[in-house]
Amino acid sequence: MATTLTREQTRTRVKPAVIDGDIHNDLPSPQALLPFLPAEWRDYHARFGTFGYSATAYPRINPNAARHDAWPPGGGNPGSSLTFMREQLLDAWNIEYGILNCLIGAGARRLDQSAAVAQAINEWQVATWLDPEPRLRASLVVPYEDGQLAAAEIDRAARDRRFVQVLLIARTAEPLGRRKYWPLYEAAVRNDLPIGIHFGGSGGFPFTGAGRPSYYIEDHAGMAQAFQSQVVSLVCEGVFEQFPTLKIVMIEGGFAWLPPLMWRLDAAYGRLRAETPHLKRLPSEYIREHFWITTQPMEEPTKPAQFHQLLDQLGMSDRLIFATDYPHWDFDAPDQAFPVRLDPDLERRIMADNAKGLYKF
């Protein structure tokens, strides 16, 4: 059974301060969103709710995929109480800045409703999280299945610079390099915001290229395959030729799969480049230039020393950003996340400095 560590127990273990690249805030109840919705959507939203793509009927290991101890004592979903988040995460682990990735979906099939929901979530984030807590920053929720509507929400909301990135999801209705998403990327670049692609989502297809698996562990561990498809698409479609300053952060995807994918993509490009003349460089070069990665869930090699080999193969130590994934069950604690003891400089970069550079804290 999980026990909650108090601030006194943990704070001394994590100094200096940490930047957390992946925190999940949630509504205390669905009704809490209604006041933030544009008036013309309130009644419809209350009556019908949203409907997206069917797919996620894999019971998670815990309710809300949350830590047992993350349910706020005053009620509501894990991640819905700022007071409890302060106590359990921000204070307890000496978090200097934390980035909220709100997973209340804006991936509904009805696109204009999706846009209204995204706007409401962002307004709710400002009022309920960013205004009262200066340590928090947030990702912009956008109706990502419509590039134009998503771009409009980015242009509207990005004036508030506490929004530090645009949030997309790993499973989408088309591979993310396809042109329907390009207006979104254009708006992100225009507003100088990175794109965060987070674990989860559904675009209406089976979760694997081999059909629907049966168990949650395949859904959960299978996110690595969803991320691979998105990396492949973003590179091969030439998104980084079109948007040379675009920055992508892969959140909660793991990263040990990335070196072998780079090797394979480079091999594919070597043989098939006649098909993609719009690519001017090796796929691995685009990846190392344009991608950042959060660390949770950290891969744990069979032998700890292999973690150093992994970092060497990845060659992206300046791109790794520590994340806890609070309040989810697979939370990585800042003092226990790494399977090896890292060089102190490298540890500083991953725990804070890489994020400071990217998000300009």
């Binding site: 989408t172 290229g209 949650y216 998105q230 698409s233 043989r271």
Partner: protein
């Protein structure tokens, strides 16, 4: 080509080679006529049906066909004489295992699918196995109809030339799914390896986010579908249900395997209550039941990193040498060899002994 590399090739070849992946292509449906019942010959003549296509990947893409492998008047991989001359003789191959990616899974009429699969198998016997004693072959089955596939396996599985049942990695449902139990049972009953190979033509797209634009994406992304299949076989518990089941991943790449095993082992520790029949670490099932062919190597650019990956595999029995003829994965035969930094004993295992043991050759 340096003299040392050529010497090394000669040395290795002199010790004997088993080639675990040679691709054969049915030249045209007319070539199957001698092996089709009267009814289907008539149907084909009347409808002009040309079969499902030779395979599920573009026949003349650079990856699919070495420039010299195309016989007059036929696709690459359709000539025994060229295969002997270009793949068996130069390598001194003792035994070569044929796979035929004839896309039976794309024939939706179940009777037609069975008739075409049977015809391809009888064609393999008559045109390849009977004519060349160095060859073994994989049984083509209508995998979308597992009961009928099982019947076809029982029909030809006793032929000593068949050592494997071939399944395309892309599928409507992953192969651990219970609908495939009759098929897996038949493979085990007939003492055959299940070979899962590149490609396939199911109705669902090759990524969790839909259809990519370029073949390069599909080629590079195919590795992630192998990963999904392998994960599913493990977590559905088929290796517990069939302790004698042997699976080879063909043309899958393998440098991705260590990082995925780390992740699956970790996730299993957290999520095992949901799949209690999985009694051991995922990596243990792989080491015992699964092998992978060596082409494409998808190797890192630095040899030291390649040696790290070989070590991280955690077993010296996993890799089976393959040329992947007539696919074009390398330019000189030396490039198809295991890296020079490996111990001789391991090279011997990769080049020959692992396949001999696993396929009982």
């Amino acid at each position: 080509m340096t003299a040392t590399a050529t010497d090394r090739l000669a040395q290795i070849v002199a010790q004997g080679v088993i080639d675990a992946d040679l691709n054969v292509v049915v030249p045209s449906s007319a070539d199957l006529f001698p092996y089709l019942p009267e009814y289907w010959r008539e149907q084909i003549n009347q409808t002009g049906f040309k079969g499902p296509g030779e395979s599920s990947y573009p026949a003349s893409a650079e990856t699919s066909a070495r420039p010299e492998a195309k016989p007059d008047g036929g696709p690459a991989g359709s000539s025994l004489a060229l295969l002997q001359q270009q793949a068996l003789d130069p390598w001194g191959t003792e035994i070569g295992i044929l796979t035929c990616a004839y896309a039976v899974e794309a024939i939706h009429n179940p009777d037609a699918a069975v008739a075409m699969a049977s015809a391809v198998n009888d064609w393999l016997i008559a045109e390849w196995l009977d004519k060349e004693p160095r060859l073994r072959a994989s049984i083509v089955v209508p995998s979308q109809q597992p009961e009928l596939a099982a019947r076809e396996i029982d029909r030809v599985g006793g032929h000593p030339g068949f050592v494997q049942v071939y399944l395309p990695v892309r599928a409507e449902a992953p192969y651990g799914n219970r609908r495939y139990l009759p098929l897996l049972d038949a493979a085990v009953r007939n003492d055959l390896v299940v070979g899962i190979g590149f490609g396939g033509s199911p109705p669902n797209p090759p990524t969790p986010s839909g259809w990519p634009s370029y073949y390069m994406e599909e080629w590079a992304g195919m590795a992630s579908i192998f990963q999904s299949q392998l994960m599913n076989l493990i977590f559905e518990g088929v290796f517990d249900r069939f302790p004698a089941l042997r699976v080879t991943l063909i043309e899958s790449g393998f440098t991705w395997l260590p990082s995925l095993l780390w992740r699956w082992n970790k996730e299993w520790k957290g999520l095992r209550p949901q799949t209690p029949w999985v009694r051991r670490l995922p990596s243990e099932y792989v080491h015992e039941h699964v092998r992978l062919t060596t082409q494409p190597w998808d190797a890192p650019p630095v040899e030291a990193q390649f040696l790290q990956i070989i070590d991280q595999l955690g077993s010296d029995e996993l890799l089976l040498f393959s040329t992947d003829y007539p696919h074009w994965q390398y330019d000189t035969p030396e490039e198809a060899l295991p890296p020079a930094g490996l111990p001789d004993a391991l090279i011997a295992k990769i080049m020959r002994d692992n396949a001999r043991t696993f396929y009982r050759l």
